[in-house]
Amino acid sequence: MKTTVIDLSADSFNGEIEAFLTRLLESDLVGSLLVPKRTTGGDNYVHALIKNPALLADTDIGAPVMPVQAARIISNLTFRAPGEKIGVVVKPCEARALVELTKFKQIDRDSVLIIAVDCLGTYEPKNFSALVKSGKTPALDLRKQAVAGACSADEAAPFRSACEICEYPALDTSIVDMVVGIWGVDTEKQIYVEATDDLAQALGEKSILEFNDQENSKRQEIITSLKAERTKVCTQVLGDFQQQVNSIKGIQELLSTCMRCHNCMINCPICYCRECVFRSPTFEHTPDQYLGWAEDKGAIRMPANTVMFHLTRLNHMVISCIGCGMCDTACPNDIPVMSLFRTVGGKAQKMMEYEPGRSYDEPAPATTFQDTELVTEAGMTGH
């Protein structure tokens, strides 16, 4: 890994990043860039697939909003090799989802150059929009706080609940090609960058970015303490959640307002199946089937199979759940889906000794097995 610190002239963080991205896009290292760019409406940032360097204007790699999980977009772009390298600017949870999707062969890793940016927390899109419309500058406000190692959300809007308990506010270059560090960095004066040896060499040779090996030990300290603090909060929050959802009654209360819109599934980066079983003929029941079930139980909730939908989705993908919380953002009725998935996922991941997003080399648990394992967990002790 190579590191560098870029000194800035008067508060030109976005300008310097834009200049770097322009040099990158004009080089032969990438054919296009996927970067968060301010919408024409001005109150949101969405990923734009950019070919023309002139359109890198109004991009902000650290915009504290995530209307769509970039891993989903990148899967659409690279499930077949696109024939050129795409540089993608992502948040840590998006990069971790990329790792999982790569294992499921939904992303061609060789077709993407991944640039992960430290995440200071994100707002729900509607809240971000409201902050901007009220004249605030949420991205800049957070970046100024990050140097001291703690970012508070604006008093008018909290961070997304997934961000409050996120243990991955920053990454190193083990799963990405390049990292733009913001935690512990005085971004009014400096930009901190890490890159893999290969990328650093290529960037240097093409005069895109020189690596001067300057490090930032403060960032590392801050990340370590942030992780410890968030882990504590996470354990507390999910522990409380499990107290609420520890019986069928708890599950029924949790899902009381579910309208089976499938938004949680549609927006989940890990739920990648092109055809979900819940949208397949398996669940196209005939009228007499519904009436038969109603006869059996006296009544059934309609649309049917609401609890089964969530329990099945848990079983199908919770092992790979990276906790980005897009399910929470997508739920029109504010069901805390992320808390459900992280609570169940934490225990399941521990059982399988698996951490989603950690490494490209660890196979997804459902695709592998050991000859002797999980005898107790599968309930087979003594048999």
Binding site: W293, K297, M308, T312, A348, D371
Partner: protein, 142 residues
């Protein structure tokens, strides 16, 4: 309940190459076992998707039995070991949410083990008698 004796209903997902044939053998050799099991024929225990196990339980089955080949004997090499992972995960999910994971059993029963099949059903029936009726059988809001 009006019935004097509770007869558990078990849904059995049985592998074609072992437990299903074992169940057949149990019958032809006149082994006695409770009649509450409803058998669904699979080509491999590895073909089980949890959606069918969950459907059974949420619709009110008292227990689900997945029967596969002993490790090393899988007709498709390793389907049974993949099933074991899936069932371990299912049971973990159920336990975290306070659902009764003992209503899901995975057992290795070979084609020649008709006696073991009958014993397993008797054992499961007894265990479910103790656990009582699946409370989800009376829940409409699922």
């Amino acid at each position: 309940m009006a019935d004097s004796k509770f007869e558990p209903r078990i849904v059995g997902f049985l592998c074609h190459w072992c437990t299903y044939t074992g169940a057949d053998l149990a019958g032809t050799t006149r082994q006695q076992y409770p009649a509450g099991i409803r058998i669904i024929h699979l080509m491999c225990s590895g073909a089980i998707d949890v959606v069918y196990v969950l459907k059974s339980l949420l619709d009110g089955a008292d227990g689900v039995l997945i029967g596969g080949c002993h490790p090393g004997d899988c007709h498709y090499q390793t389907g049974n070991l993949k099933a074991r992972r899936r069932i371990a995960l299912l049971r973990s999910v159920m336990e975290t949410l306070g659902l009764d994971s003992e209503r899901v059993w995975l057992r290795w029963i070979s084609a020649s083990e008709g006696r073991l099949f009958a014993e397993t059903i008797r054992e499961y029936d007894g265990a479910l008698q103790d656990q009582g009726q699946n409370p989800l059988a009376n829940e409409w809001d699922l």
